[in-house]
């Protein structure tokens, strides 16, 4: 060995291995939720959508109360008023204050959409999970039922249901959910089936984990992502369906207000009072755009593998 190297070696001292230090976690680990939230925060469009949605929800709750009028009082001396200091968004054909009506309508539409999505979620997740977890013959029968249901154009069935039931908030919700849960059930089943055959579940089984624990600790946390994403996309489509039904005269009726009712009324007087159609249209478009973009953002954040 050359002399120089020997001298150099003298400069180094062997370090003592400290197992505790090696294993030390310097920072608290992130939960899946925190991790997703970090990714979502980087998505500017999604955050802007989230802010818009929060503002809309707040306005939908307090809006009807902060104007000068309520949403149902008629005033025949002030019909078809242009937007002014007294009536911020003008008045309709019965002199009802449009500002109050729009925010009241937004809150009704949002409520219908969110509740319908929640109902879809509960039914769909239970159906899908039961089908996937039980497997075998039960799964087979449940899947055949779904196959038939997906062959039915759902909007037609919703229209028929709306015809026989008394129009109202609950009716619309129920009618939408009767056909709406199928999609969620399919997604959840497919996802759980995929998870069931993955190695980490096999590993858990090998270690003797009970079925309940596997479902609770492995399957459910890994499925929440697609459930949230799908719900985010169900809400705008429910908002659309409600507006659609009201537009063809099957949804809520005046003096109740929903975005669909307002658009329908606005369309009737489009010729002279374009603002009556314009404002509710802007609100509904803003809501749907915000939900769709936030849904996209959430998909990227919750499941980075799917990012495009």
């Amino acid at each position: 060995m050359p002399k120089e190297t020997q001298n150099l070696d003298a400069l180094f001292k062997p370090a003592a291995a400290r197992p505790d230090d090696k294993e030390k976690i310097t920072r608290e680990s992130l939960t899946a939720f925190q991790d997703s939230w970090r990714r979502l925060r980087k998505n500017k469009a999604a955050i802007i959508s989230l802010v818009i949605l929060v503002i809309m929800v707040v306005l939908a709750i307090i809006g009807p109360w902060i104007g000068h009028h309520n949403y149902y009082d008629t005033d025949y001396s002030a019909v078809y008023q242009k937007p002014s200091a007294d009536h911020w968004f003008g008045t309709d054909k019965f002199g009802r204050d449009q500002w109050a009506r729009i925010w009241q309508g937004t809150s009704v539409s949002l409520m219908i959409a969110v509740l319908a999505a929640a109902l879809d979620l509960v039914v769909g997740v239970i159906y899908g999970a039961v089908s996937a977890l039980l497997g075998g013959r039960v799964d087979n029968v449940m899947q055949r039922i779904i196959e038939i249901l997906t062959g039915i154009p759902s909007l037609i069935i919703i229209i028929l249901l709306m015809m026989i039931m008394k129009p109202g908030i609950i009716t619309i919700m129920v009618a939408m959910s009767i056909t709406g849960w199928v999609n969620m059930a399919r997604l959840v089943r497919a996802h759980i089936m995929k998870l069931k055959s993955q190695e980490f579940v096999l590993a858990a089984r090998t270690l003797g984990t009970s079925n309940g624990r596997i479902i609770w600790k492995h399957l459910i946390p890994n499925t929440i992502g697609i459930i949230v994403i799908n719900t985010m996309f169900t809400i705008p489509s429910a908002i659309f369906t409600e507006a659609f039904l009201s537009f063809i005269g099957l949804g809520l009726q005046s003096p109740m207000a929903s975005l669909g009712v307002l658009i329908n009324d606005g369309f009737a007087s489009l010729n002279s009072q374009a603002y009556l159609l314009l404002y509710p249209s802007i609100i509904i478009v803003l809501l749907m755009v915000a939900f769709n973009i936030l849904g996209d953002g959430l998909r990227d954040a919750l499941d980075p593998r799917m990012r495009k």
Partner: protein
């Protein structure tokens, strides 16, 4: 393959049977009748019975149901309550023309624009082109088609006078409704093609093609676009749904004598037999399209054929 088609056909018949049954009993559960109740009460009982008998309403519900099913098999959807004495099948076939024309134009227009947008967006991924396309796609699914149609009618028809405002008079009457209907199709296709193409661009066979020294045009058309377009067939299902629901409102807005406006009108008139007829017609159309989509997809993409053959 043969067995697969057979199974699918059984499902098709089963689905249609369930829809027919559900529709029939839903209609029976409807409050009110299509007749003018007040005037009907003034008629002597004998005449009232005659009216009921002429529509087969005097028999028990189960008999009516069996008769209805039997007639459907023979291709008879019953007689309209509102358009007195007219067969529902005749009314529907008389209204197909405008609906088919508008629907077809909307699909072709939507397909053309959607494809171009999707391809440009994927090729210029993460540039202004891409973002612009994505904004169009999000707006396309977010703006309700009836809002868009109403605004188009107001501005392009009424204010600026570019197109006829409403009614079915000349070919130009079909332009605004077709465009309004096509926006949803554009959004669906652009988004789908973009995603598909981004995936194909990452495939190894594209790298191989580049390594072989193939020209840009050759790679794009022979490898990328061709492979991306295969699965566009699968969006046909959502597109058909989009068109069916769109036609209900858009035909109404523009006063077009198509099936969509007929459906909405008959809902308002309580015209049961027409409502049932159109429901069955729509469902049959939808179910058939879905079957054709699945079969076509299996034909174009051999990987799918094997997968479905196993099931």
């Amino acid at each position: 393959m043969k067995r697969y088609i057979g199974v699918r056909l059984i499902y098709l018949v089963l689905t249609l049977f369930i829809i027919t049954t559900a529709t029939f009993f839903l209609m029976k559960g409807l409050p009110g009748t299509p007749f003018d109740e007040e005037k009907l009460q003034q008629l002597p009982t004998e005449q009232r019975q005659k009216i009921y008998a002429s529509y087969g309403l005097d028999k028990p519900v189960v008999t009516q149901y069996v008769n209805y099913l039997g007639n459907i098999v023979k291709g008879d959807l019953g007689t309209s309550f509102f358009y007195t004495g007219q067969k529902v099948t005749d009314i529907i076939s008389g209204r197909i023309g405008p609906s088919a024309l508008i629907g077809l134009q909307a699909v072709l227009l939507g397909l053309a624009i959607g494809l171009i947008l999707g391809i440009i967006a994927a090729y210029r991924h993460n540039t202004g082109w891409d973002y612009a396309t994505m904004i169009i796609a999000v707006l396309g699914v977010s703006v309700p088609n009836f809002v868009l149609a109403a605004l188009m009618q107001y501005y392009m028809g009424l204010k600026w006078g570019w197109f006829p405002v409403a009614f079915w008079e000349s070919y130009s009457s079909s332009i605004l409704p077709s465009v309004a209907l096509s926006v949803g199709v554009v959004a669906l296709i652009a988004r789908f093609v973009r995603t598909e193409m981004l995936e194909v661009l990452e495939q190894e066979y594209i790298t191989t093609a580049k390594a072989k020294g193939l020209g840009f045009i050759r790679i794009m058309f022979q490898h990328v676009i061709r492979n991306s377009l295969i699965s566009v067939i699968t969006v046909l299902g959502p597109i058909v749904v989009n068109l069916l629901t769109g036609s209900l409102v858009i035909e109404n807005i523009f006063g077009i004598p198509g099936i969509g406006s007929l459906f909405v009108d008959s809902i308002k008139m309580n015209d049961y037999s027409t409502i049932m007829g159109i429901t069955i017609f729509y469902s049959a159309f939808y179910v058939l399209v879905m079957l054709v989509v699945d079969l076509l997809y299996g034909l174009v993409d051999p990987r799918i054929r094997f997968a479905s053959g196993k099931e």
